[in-house]
Symmetry: C2
Subunit: 405 residues, 2 copies
Amino acid sequence: MSRNCLVAQSGGPTVAINSSLAGVISQALKSESIDKIYGARNGIQGVLNDHLVVLNDIFAQEENIKALKNTPSMYLGSCRYKLTDYKKDSSDYDKICEILKKYDIGYFFYIGGNDSMDTVAKFSVNVEEKGLDVKVVGIPKTIDNDLYCIDHTPGFGSAAKYIAASVLEMAHDTYIYAIDTVLIVEIMGRNAGWLTAASSLARTSYSQAPHLIYLPEKAFDKTAFVAKVQELLAEKHHVIVAVSEGIKDADGTYISAQGGKVDKFGHVMLSGTGKVLESIVAEEIGCKVRSVELNVLQRAASHVASKTDIEESFFLGVNGVMLAMKGRSGVMSTLSRVSDEPYAVEYGEADIEKIANYEKKIPGEWINEEGTDVLPAMEKYLRPLIQGENEIEYQNGIPQYIFLE
Amino acid sequence: MSRNCLVAQSGGPTVAINSSLAGVISQALKSESIDKIYGARNGIQGVLNDHLVVLNDIFAQEENIKALKNTPSMYLGSCRYKLTDYKKDSSDYDKICEILKKYDIGYFFYIGGNDSMDTVAKFSVNVEEKGLDVKVVGIPKTIDNDLYCIDHTPGFGSAAKYIAASVLEMAHDTYIYAIDTVLIVEIMGRNAGWLTAASSLARTSYSQAPHLIYLPEKAFDKTAFVAKVQELLAEKHHVIVAVSEGIKDADGTYISAQGGKVDKFGHVMLSGTGKVLESIVAEEIGCKVRSVELNVLQRAASHVASKTDIEESFFLGVNGVMLAMKGRSGVMSTLSRVSDEPYAVEYGEADIEKIANYEKKIPGEWINEEGTDVLPAMEKYLRPLIQGENEIEYQNGIPQYIFLE
């Protein structure tokens, strides 16, 4: 007897989260156990508001699957809604279960990051307790690469490729004047420095930019920073610094602490770390200095996505459906690396409870003692993730993406 | 009798200025009248400092010409040195002429923008007065598209393509949450709004972003801006605003000069037009708002260059050499559009005196009366310039460029 499935996307965008959605849809279309494929608009909120769309027809066309794989951000929309503890208030859970019954949902796929896996964890326990036959499977994504139980996260490789290409291009831009110049590049990452570490992939035989890399995993010392920049300027005219938005001083205070502004989850909102470092260089050294915040483009620039990342993200979606077909629930589709050279991964599953609400940070042994660079083990880990260029179709001179109106 | 040639690059970077250099070198290598091809390091400063490099050998290899075409910024380095009026102080001119004699330079190609064309203009008059047989030819470049006597400037089309693709990708990023959101995108352009106007090329059948476009050519009114954003938010959840860094109020004061203000936390507001508009929205409307400064990537992102732009820039370099071979001096290599559909250009020359030190602005009739958008004539003009994707070679997952150490 075939049932219907429901898929939703949540959290912040990446360029690969739609590829995972394409994988889910593609595999669900092939499955005889699945009839209708429902998508929830704006994550779990779409479920709560009974705002579902049927995806079968549009994605029966193979070219739409391909366009979806290559489209940035979330086709179904997103939300930042965190389910409350159902032992305290079960109203959201009850409402979701009603919707699942109404649409005869047998399989629920939730694509998201740490917070979304929290939703999956809570919900899978709740449906089991209620005795509902719904398999709940999480499919990971986050540019931050901070999930446990997975070698690296979908979306991260493309962001890393964008960052590496952009830092190299900005290095060419910086090197042209024969005067002392400092460029600060601010990269996303509140608590984990993976994306900033990926800037090291910009290095070539002719350019060692970024010359300094500052990560949230090591305390930032302003005096040491100024001394280091001065030392490098004495050797060469141009110093390029990659810095995580989330660097903190020895007391654990964000360098860009924003006067108590916090987001809905109580995370301190960061912006302006690059500007703070720019001011420090201007005031303490006085040379030409500029800061660039890579901002949302690092999570949205599908035009320079990593083919490896897009393909893996697709198969994590496919694998998620296969897990549900096997009757698995409360698990996350995952991948592990079986070889660095040649690079190879295998797909599997992980217990969601081990993933939700934890953040994987860079191992201390991959960062130099001074806290100004990453070590060779980091490149060995990162380099395979940015390999291959995704082929984007262009129309009228701009990338051709797909959009749900 | 063959002579040597000298080529230099000046001003700010673009992704196409090396393609023009490749065109000069490629054509010079073919010319029987040219023996050695010298490149000056860091523009006219390299000439003054006798810092020349011979380019024949490296670019005898066709793959290096191809890599040069695709490499951002200036292979030879740049300077921002403006020659003084030689009637007041001829020492720079005398020094340059010495170098030209020392290296038996018969042809001098200077690739640059407004200021560089000023150098070409002054210098071509000076060598003529001195009776030196040196043909001086300017080759245009600037992302700003603000030169006269040319349909559009080399480098502009690629910047326009980057801006259009990025605004579309950021629109996907912005549309995902079902809450009122404003995104401000700050684009380069102190006095001419061409680059900001190019954001209109991001529009597709499903996305009208940017919904508002503010250009330096029209006075910016804060009250009207707030009213317009509120009006659009009432219609739709998401408003994307493209703004030139150089917008001014009715008194002619730059909006960015209104930094130095203190926010409600007592922090001095960061300079930057986008940040100022972000603060206005936050304070007057209070919805979710973010600003993104495209910054140097819009002039350096070769990975998404316009093929049309790269090819035209190459032929402007080729054409520059051909002009010099015909004995022309004190002219700029130029192109004019002969047809919109099919798009076609022809190459020619322009008198440098008509170009140097002038800035071409957007015609008033291409901007709507409110000053919040561009009109259809603008798209007709712009669209052909971003056509075609330049094929970049990748190595180790990042673009493969060429660099002069």
